[in-house]
Amino acid sequence: MARNVSTQRKIVVTVVAWTIGILIFFPILWTFLTSFKTEAEAIASPPSLFFFDWTTENYHEVQSRSNYLLHFMNSVVISFGSTLIGLIIAIPSAWAMAFSPTKRTKDVLMWMLSTKMMPSVGVLVPMYLLFRNTGLLDTRTGLVIVLTLINLPIIIWMLYTYFKEIPGEILEAARMDGASLSKEIIYVLTPMAIPGIASTLLLNIILAWNEAFWTLNLSAAKAAPLTAFIASYSSPEGLFYAKLSAASTMAIAPILILGWFSQKQLVRGLTFGAVK
């Protein structure tokens, strides 16, 4: 292929790809821009893309009207809490299955995954009643418990596929060199395990942050995370596009940034290691 042909081709591909990329991203960009408009400008016709009086008033108003920070903190506590507890439970299990597998390890792993296949709605009624009767309805504790359970299989699977890649020979070498068990764990195993644990942490925070079945059904005013808080905008009063946009922008920004950092792990985690 001649060089100038391939450069030309590259330019065409670039234009097409950027156009499609921007179109796909546009709803998010539009939400971001609208959050800085006044309510009147938000529904103005013709709409303006960049040339309007930028204002941060919506962000103040969302906070003062509905205590946005409370819901933001609920999301933080629920997603981080459920992920950390999940990791504490999962790390020993994944470790044991990766480093001292038995004949049944594969069956156990497959069975764990199968619990993820159960549709949430199949256990909605008993969970709702159990939560109501134990006072867990609309509490952060209750949501942390549920989200820990629904994400536990994914956490174990991700950790397992990462731990599997740690070569056992390195441990033997360390032992031959006279490393004690504690030194072996601190200096050899931990550094090799940390990248996998970090990826697992990131992906699960994203999943828990965006979970929108249990958070919508088991929370009300007090423990509602952002998913449920934003849902309250579905029955609006008066003009609300700019405020919806401000609330949405704050709700999605942290996760967008986390997600962009962990693109590769996203694929691996969501396909249970089937596509790397």
């Binding site: 081709r9 590259k10 591909v13 670039t14 097409v16 790809a17 990329g21 921007i22 991203f25 709803p27 998010i28 016709s45 013709p46 709409p47 439970i89 299990s93 044991a96 001292s100 038995t102 594969k106 497959m110 995954l113 199968s114 619990t115 296949m117 159960m118 549709p119 949430s120 709605v121 199949g122 256990v123 909605l124 009624v125 008993p126 709702y128 359970l149 536990l152 994203i206 929108a212 079945f213 919508l216 934003i230 849902a231 905008y233 579905s234 596009y241 919806l244 949405s248 999605i252 996760i255 986390l258 962009w260 693109q263 996203l266 694929v267 969501l270 396909t271 089937a274 596509v275 790397k276």
Partner: protein, 290 residues
């Protein structure tokens, strides 16, 4: 490693996860099965009685059930079609050399990271609204009558929103698979004079088949349970036009307070999901051996 982890130590380490998941799997599901055979309404406490299969009979003869079943399938198949075809096209495009590839990737991935309620409300209000939405403005620009998406084509609108959320997932996975295709193979095919189309059909598509299967199966699991998008846009309506199985069970349980009926519906949903899961598990099981 045998000295570090004896068999029993390993068992001890696995036990908490297994016990928790076992409890999570058995206790609520057993309760759902139990409730599904009761006449049990939260508005009439203390009136519970054994009802045999009448809840199932009620659910399976309810016209809303068949509408919901149809809608569930329409959402799954519609979204799968859009995301798989679109995902292959996008992955092929993003695999080409271009300027700023990393940024385009970031733009394309973004919708997948947006929480469902935000995605659905932004589309509903700022795009699909027949008065103030951008689509209405575009229609007027071309002298057309604005179309009320959520009132006139509720199911299609839901499918569109959900497809927008899942297109990045398909693209990302197919792109990852595409990048593992051997460069030399492609060049060899090219040198042998294979056209772009036959290279796609005989080389690229077979290479992608595994990733496509994974995309279809995993998305199906999630798409069977679409909920938030329906709740905040159409609330299942108008009528039951955009009610899927998940939403129907939710409405039966938390709006009608019919514990028995909702439980029967939940069990039906579990059975349907299990049929899909069966194939997914076999697929992933094979990966584990490889």
């Amino acid at each position: 490693m045998a000295t570090l982890h004896t068999r029993s130590a390993a068992r001890l380490m696995i036990a908490p996860s297994v016990l928790l998941l076992l409890a999570w799997m058995i206790v609520p599901l057993a309760m759902t099965i139990y409730f599904s055979f009761l006449r049990y309404n939260l508005l009439m406490p203390g009136m519970e009685e054994f009802a045999g299969f009448s809840n199932y009979k009620y659910f399976l003869t309810d016209p809303a059930f068949f509408q919901a079943l149809f809608n569930t399938l329409a959402i799954v198949l519609g979204v799968l079609f859009i995301t798989v075809v679109g995902g292959i096209a996008l992955a092929l495009l993003l695999d080409q050399p271009m300027f700023g590839q990393g940024i385009v990737r970031i733009l394309v991935i973004a919708p997948f990271l947006i929480m469902p309620t935000v995605a659905a409300l932004v589309w509903k209000n700022m795009f699909m609204n027949p008065v103030n939405g951008l689509f209405a403005w575009l229609a007027k620009l071309f002298g057309l009558q604005p179309f009320d998406f959520l009132a006139n084509a509720p199911l299609m609108s839901v499918i569109l929103i959900v497809a927008w959320q899942w297109l990045p997932f398909a693209t990302l996975i197919l792109l990852t698979a595409l990048q593992s295709l051997d460069e030399e193979q492609k060049e060899a095919a090219q040198m042998d004079g294979a056209s772009a189309w036959s290279r796609f059909i005989y080389l690229v598509l077979p290479h992608l088949s595994r990733a496509i299967t994974v995309v279809i199966l995993i998305q199906t699991i999630f798409l069977l349970s679409v909920f938030a998008e329906i709740l905040v846009t159409t609330n299942g309506g108008p009528g039951t036009q955009s009610t899927n199985l998940t939403f129907l069970v939710y409405a039966q349980a938390l709006l009608q307070f019919d514990v028995g009926g909702a439980s029967a519906g939940g069990i039906i949903a579990v059975i349907l999901a299990n049929i899909v899961a069966f194939f997914l598990m076999r697929m992933i099981g094979k990966t584990l051996e490889a």
